[in-house]
Symmetry: D2
Subunit: 351 residues, 4 copies
């Protein structure tokens, strides 16, 4: 049986996890190589016994890796600023791409990847909106669209609230992430488009506050923000993003329709355990999106692998990412200026 020969680019926290997912949960994939430009990551990978056992080659140069004659696909898990250029290089070589969201914080650059993918229809290119592969979000979709359980959906509330990072990792990473609405809310915006059936944005506004990471001030960012997106046709989404939660990674979504409401993860839980003691009854919350979405990442990798091996469409059109990014940047603009950002009925920004 032929397995998909794939490489993972970037060996930060997520890159390592993606290697693990491919090794342990994607039987039709074979990890040929990994690649990093960070010397610590390279050392770590070269000394990794498991990587050796699985026959994974470690590259320090992306182009060298792309030149590997057997390589069929790459999973790009680097920092956002090189997503687009690495995707473009792979596409040019006919190598399939699963790229972490977003393709770029620059809309024109992101569009260039979409364009390149269109010019190379035999190359599968997918942006990794992992929540689309989560069983609860899929069940929500099934209830809404197939079972019509809530009538016509018209309102989405969605939160991405991270555990406060005391390690400094987040702040080092923040300068490249495009701001809180681009980095955090991108999944929430994507979910809104999904559950509201691809509505056209009409206006948005946002407000934010800086509570814990004063370093963000010079990056013109905040660590807590709320925003409202109004769509043409009487649909609305609103978001809360936070970097400073005390209790864990708290990501929830509610979709309200004419006949009901679907709630996803409104009470986040680490597992099925509750402890009753002098403080009452308590459960723990996942510390990171990894614990919440580990299964979704595995399904994403399996579905991408299958799409490539069987020549099927990737499960998520690449263009969705562009619309999501446009809304995220407009919210970020509203946040910084205090002004409402408006769009015409084609969804084109008018101010």
């Amino acid at each position: 049986m032929d397995r998909l020969k794939i490489a993972v680019v970037g060996l930060g926290r997520m890159g390592k996890r993606h290697v693990h997912t491919l090794l342990y949960r994607v039987p039709l994939a074979q990890v040929l190589a990994v690649c990093s430009t960070d010397s610590h990551e390279i050392d770590w990978a070269r000394n990794n016994k498991e990587y050796k056992e699985f026959g994974i080659t470690v590259y320090s140069n992306y182009e060298d890796m792309l030149a590997h004659s057997e390589l069929q696909a790459v999973w790009i898990s680097t920092s956002t600023d090189v997503h687009a250029s690495q995707s473009l290089k792979a596409i040019e070589k006919g190598i399939h791409v699963l790229c972490e969201k977003p393709l770029s914080t620059d809309l024109a650059e992101a569009q260039s990847v979409v364009d390149a993918a269109k010019r190379n229809p035999s190359v599968k290119v997918m942006a990794g909106f992992s929540r689309r592969f989560d069983s609860s979000y899929r069940d929500a979709s099934d209830k809404i669209f197939r079972k019509k359980a809530i009538g016509d959906p018209f309102m989405v509330r969605s939160n991405t609230c991270d555990l406060r990072d005391e390690t400094g990792f987040f702040v080092r990473y923040a300068s490249r992430n495009g701001g809180i609405f681009v980095d955090c809310a991108i999944h929430d915006i994507d979910l809104s488009l999904w559950y509201l059936d691809n509505p056209i944005v009409k206006a948005c506004w946002a407000a934010g506050t800086l509570q814990h990471h004063p370093e963000l001030k010079e990056l013109h960012d905040v660590d807590n923000a709320v925003g409202i997106v109004e769509f043409w046709g009487g649909k609305i989404a609103y978001f809360y993003c936070s970097r400073t939660q005390a209790h864990g990674h708290d990501v929830c979504t509610e979709i309200t329709g004419s006949e009901g409401k679907v709630m996803v993860n409104v009470v986040p839980r680490q597992n099925n355990v509750v402890l009753a003691d002098k403080l009452g009854m308590r459960h723990e919350v996942q510390p990171e999106y990894w614990q919440r979405f580990e299964d979704a990442f595995a399904l994403e990798a399996n579905e991408f692998t299958e799409a490539v091996l069987k020549g099927k469409e990737v499960p998520l059109p690449l263009e969705t990412g562009i619309t999501v990014m446009k809304i995220g940047q407009s919210l970020q603009h509203a946040l910084l200026t205090g002004e409402v950002v408006r769009f015409n009925e084609k969804g084109q920004r008018v101010n």
Copy 2:
């Protein structure tokens, strides 16, 4: 022992409930009289056996009732448009007033009641922000301010989502209520001021949609709306109000601080019963705010009664209502115009 001689004005759904509360749960109050100008309500009250047993006189004229020589206090539960005038008449006669919120949808008129109360310091005047008397909201306050359980609070999310009214009652009532943010969100705004420690409003914006009550269009109102209120000092509140929920009266509040979050009624429950059957596990939700806040109304009436009998301050300053109304009307303005409403550092509206 002397009990407070009180009358209830207005015998709609809530007026009748207030009479019941006073009879059954406020031992230091004695209901002398009720008053209504609605002939059906008057007939109903005159034929009410319980009212007879308790010796309650039924009036069809408010002034006549105020002339009752023993009357010490009135609970005003009429439609909003007469709250202020009825309050003023009672205050002038030295009669204590517990008035349903809001005092008026006209800020100047509301202020005239506040002014009259100031001129008559021996008369106790209180606006009925019933959630302030709910044991869960008080526990939240206790956790936040006394136990410092969440560090510094900076963000409030609060919802007032009503069960869809299929009886037509709501639409008949809607034209007098001042719009969704004035009618629904007034409690949520009040809670925000409470938990964020009386912040000064800086800006607000809102968006709404009309899903079920097309009659509201000519009233320039919507039946679902979300709004954000930004306060000076990096504090934020955001609200969702709805008239169209399928599952019940869903009212929740979350207060986020630097060290934690307090959640009030995020999963609403009718009682302690869960039914497990082919559909899974389910619990019912209170149909109305009455079921949710019945105990709070009883405590409110007891605390008001005690304040009058013992000459203590009423538990809630009357001025709070003015600030709440100002913010509610600004959200309603933002909703209708699409514009951001802004305020200076004194909280004075600047556009």
Copy 3:
């Protein structure tokens, strides 16, 4: 309007609460008197300002109190050993009785009260099985019997688990309570009879352990016990009683039927508040049955008052208590001997 002239006998924790309930939540009752033989309680009551304001006379002798010419009813809230004698004296004088459960730990004595009540049909006598008046348990009954929501009920699990008492109050009180299954499980047994539609007991067995109150050993009691009661006709109930919970008063009941399950209070909650912080998400649990059943006690008092004033049947037949006690004592016997206690098809004990 004529109110029921009632007295409360016993001014321990519950007696005081019953006075409060009558004053504040039972408008058709008037508390004429209280009675205690404990000098501290008598002093406390004689100095109680509220009692004075409400015109409550304090007696130190039960017979003297019964001689009060206006007295119509007594609420007996003394220790179990005098329940029966006090009930009998009241019945003989034609005074209505609401007696805390159980009537007696001696079945013959309890039966004597039932017999006296039968001989005096104009006197209302009710044992206070307060859970029968709880809105959740009533909703469970409504779902089971009226809505047929679970088909035919055949299995009941019911727990009465108390917060560990560190004050020593419990141990002082334990010697009079008849053992853990008589004192704790009596409500659970009663609920089983209710939801299983008065089944006939066939056999029971129990096991227990002593974890925290070594003093109980000489009383031949334990502080944690589980028991199974098998009924004729394929119905079963099982119980867990505990004196040593760390987290609060944890009382739950599950009724399983052929088509579903009704769960009452399986996750106990103090109120609607959840705190999210470094420990996860937690809610508090009621410390005592009072907080859990305060509303039930009020409804019980109102229904008893109404039954007397209107000459209606009391809502709960007195005989139920005898059956409950018989099962409780059999479980206690099984606990102490390790033997199965068996009954014939008439429910008569055969070993």
Copy 4:
């Protein structure tokens, strides 16, 4: 890298799932072969495209399969009556065994497997108590033993309640399963031994009822049963097993200790979705133990694989299964006879 060459014996529902688990979630395992004596299963496997792609050989004879020169391990997933003989044959050939629980419903036969394993210490033999590999049960263990979160554990409540099987599958299978306490409660008994730190059984009793599967009567079995197991040293476990739940696979465990309680899955949930509609708020429940324990099976397979490849101890001693079976059979005996089964302080049955 060398992967463990393994075969799966039995291709019923679970056998197929085990093949899937090995293929997709155990990268260090390679499925060489499957084996079944059922002609439908053999046909199904021979026509299975995925099995072909992965190079899996299909055997209709167990001995032939064992003769495969490369085979290192078998996962026995046949009906219970051949577990022991198949395990013995593999052990004799030096082939490692992961055998579904129980080894046998005959204690002597089960012991013969334990003895064979002892005689062949280089062969790894493990019984599949899958709950030991579930992340929530492990977290419970961690809280209890490492964090001492509940003080000294002394009481376990554990349920195994299956969704009612309308397909007839269960009844066909029932005659081989040893009775409800042997088949259903075996995991609950195992959990009790784990969390109570291997206590010695002292006595047990049980009661049951037949609600939905009258065919079980001639098998001397029931479809709902409760049982209590008392251990020496004041520890107790009690169980509820059911074949007839309407709402799903409801498996929960509570461990009570001197300072608190750990609850595992007391409110079972299919996923993170809640639907709010006219019926209230509801969530679905897993239909089968597979959905509840899929991840546990994967971890079990990985840990077994690693134990074999690295020559480590299997994570669960084989003897545990014997003790569990002894208690399960005693409960079943108590259920059928109505008698208490008693044991001496060495855990030897005395009646």
